[in-house]
């Protein structure tokens, strides 16, 4: 019982630790002072007005959103077939292939970014949207693959064969049998992919310009010069967008990250 109480206390403290910086950022964005202060002195939404009327912030926000959506889409298009091949087929060099496809997970993003910059400059693939996208696809695909693979089990094969024996086509079997079985993996993989792309600085920083910037890179450049409440407001807006996104995902497809049983 004491152990249970200790676990509960530690868990609640950890949750508080997770909430704290978010509370500070949101609180700080509401201050009336010209400098950032927490707890806020006075309450105002002025800093949000400043940010929403700043076209560079709005543009960066859109760039980040489109980039993350596109990267997640391509990661699914690349990761799902690769996962099926690795889980369901036997071929030579399978270990090598999965190591290759998973390796961006463990390789420093700074290194991948630098490599793509050096290589991309030879192809003219630098400082434009495709250059950003290519890098993001490479780093987010492993998240899809990694979360998908454990959801394929040998037992599912029997179900798939039964479906084929009952006359379903390969595509119908995939859609009605395989897909529902791997759905939790697909959902969490896509979430991880989107997150990883949306918050990336290390890779984007090599290929962003004043005109084409992502929100994290813009904040990163900004934070190093000044810490004023408008940065807190932008940060609070990204937190809000994230919260809306998560709740939407939860309502639409169910955020079954930690299943009941």
């Amino acid at each position: 019982m004491a152990a249970r109480l200790a676990v509960r206390a530690l868990a609640l403290l950890t949750l508080a630790y997770l909430a704290l910086p978010l509370v500070v950022v949101i609180g700080g964005s509401l201050t009336e002072t010209k400098f950032l202060s927490f707890p806020p002195q006075g309450l105002t939404l002025d800093w949000y007005r400043v940010v929403l009327h700043d076209p560079t912030y709005v543009r960066s926000f859109l760039t980040s959103a489109v980039l993350a959506l596109a990267a997640t889409f391509f990661a699914l298009v690349i990761g799902l077939p690769a996962a099926i091949a690795i889980a369901r087929h036997s071929f030579r060099g399978k270990g090598l292939l999965s190591a290759l496809l998973l390796s961006p997970l463990v390789l420093p993003h700074i290194v991948i970014g630098a490599a793509l910059l050096q290589y991309g400059s030879a192809l003219g693939l630098v400082r434009n949207f495709p250059a950003l996208l290519v890098g993001h696809v490479v780093i987010v695909t492993p998240f899809v693959l990694r979360t998908l693979l454990p959801h394929f089990s040998p037992g599912q094969r029997a179900l798939e064969e039964a479906s084929r024996d009952l006359g379903a086509s390969g595509w119908t079997t995939f859609r009605l049998v395989t897909l529902p079985l791997i759905r939790p993996g697909l959902v969490s993989g896509a979430i991880f992919a989107f997150i990883t792309s949306f918050i990336n600085v290390e890779l984007s920083i090599f290929n962003t310009t004043a005109a084409l910037n992502t929100i994290p890179v813009q904040l990163f450049n900004y934070v190093q010069y000044s810490v004023d409440p408008s940065i807190a407001a932008v940060s609070a807006l990204t937190i809000l967008a994230a919260a809306v996104g998560i709740v939407l995902i939860d309502l639409l497809i169910g955020l079954d990250l930690l299943p009941d049983k």
């Binding site: 676990v7 509960r8 530690l10 868990a11 950890t14 949750l15 997770l18 909430a19 910086p21 978010l22 950032l36 927490f38 298009v77 690349i78 077939p81 690769a82 091949a85 087929h89 071929f91 292939l97 290759l100 496809l101 997970l105 463990v106 390789l107 420093p108 993003h109 700074i110 290194v111 991948i112 630098a114 490599a115 050096q118 290589y119 991309g120 890098g135 696809v137 490479v138 695909t141 969490s188 979430i191 997150i195 918050i199 600085v201 290390e202 929100i215 904040l219 990163f220 934070v223 810490v227 940060s235 937190i239 967008a241 919260a243 998560i246 939860d250 955020l255 990250l257 930690l258 299943p259």
Partner: protein
């Protein structure tokens, strides 16, 4: 058979093409430039510059220290939280709220999260205020620009990954096994350490590997919380590409970081092999 091969071809064509073109070849370019110099062709000079220098070793040691402590703390805090969410929380809506709180920081960039800590850990920040009013310290402590400060920020960013991997593993544990251990006379603690914990070890290791590899290559959090006073390997490599434009020495730094990371991950996965569930106990 021929149709199976054809299916395989179509499944793998795109992944192989993309990863060769935009991952393998670019890394190959870095590898080659790390072994070459503009004037004298093939050379080991860039590696000698790193490996024969005390400063570089100090940076490598700092990088590893931060990564190892981040990983240990993330597992130590992540396991109880995962346990709480999977086993203790009864109210579905509260668990849902907790999961959202857990995922929310992941949806926001490192900058936003590190920025929150910059405000919290400053000289007159909330953390120092709280410690002083509790009488634990009488002068503000310096967090920014120290390894402790970086560690607080890193653990904060990486913790959700361990909670999610451990939580998923925990949710899949057949509780009948624990019950059986209890029925056979094991104490709750013994049932946990000899039944439940080994069954979740793969989740722990998966989380630890994600955390370790992200911590060792982290750039943004150390850069923002170090105040230029602590240097990690990723910061050193980035400087070479962004301000010094030395692709050769920068390449050597990148490859060093890469090799060290892979070596430690190889070691970690070797250690868990044979201890994963299904591989049999003792």
């Amino acid at each position: 058979m021929a149709s199976a091969r054809l299916t395989l071809f179509w499944l793998l064509a795109l992944p192989v093409l993309v990863f060769t073109g935009f991952f393998l070849i670019p890394l190959g370019v870095v590898l080659v430039s790390s072994f070459t110099a503009p004037e004298d062709g093939l050379t080991l000079a860039h590696y000698a510059r790193i490996l024969l220098d005390a400063y570089h070793w100090q940076v490598i040691a700092t990088t590893f220290r931060i990564a190892i402590f981040s990983t240990l703390i993330c597992v130590a805090l992540g396991y109880p939280l995962a346990w709480y969410l999977v086993r203790i929380v009864q109210l579905r809506s509260w668990r849902r709220a907790c999961v959202i709180l857990l995922v929310l920081p992941l949806f926001t960039s490192n900058i936003v999260r590190s920025f929150g800590w910059m405000v919290l850990l400053g000289r007159s920040g909330l953390v120092n205020d709280a410690l002083m009013s509790l009488g634990l310290i009488d002068r503000p402590m310096r967090f920014l620009g120290t390894e402790t400060g970086i560690l607080i920020g890193m653990v904060y960013i990486l913790l959700p990954f361990t909670v999610l991997t451990i939580g998923t593993a925990l949710a899949r544990v057949d509780r009948g096994l624990e019950q059986a251990a209890r029925d056979l006379g094991a104490t709750p603690a013994r049932a946990f350490w000899s039944v439940t914990f080994p069954l979740t070890l793969h989740g722990v290791m998966a989380g630890a590997i994600i955390v370790f590899s992200m911590a060792i290559s982290a750039y943004v959090t150390p850069a923002l919380l170090s105040g230029g006073k602590v240097t990690v390997l990723a910061m050193l490599a980035f400087q070479q590409y962004s301000t010094v434009f030395d692709f050769h020495y920068g390449g050597a730094l990148s490859i060093t970081l890469l090799v060290l990371t892979l070596a430690l991950i190889g070691l970690a996965s070797r250690m868990t092999r044979g201890r994963t569930p299904g591989a049999g106990g003792h």
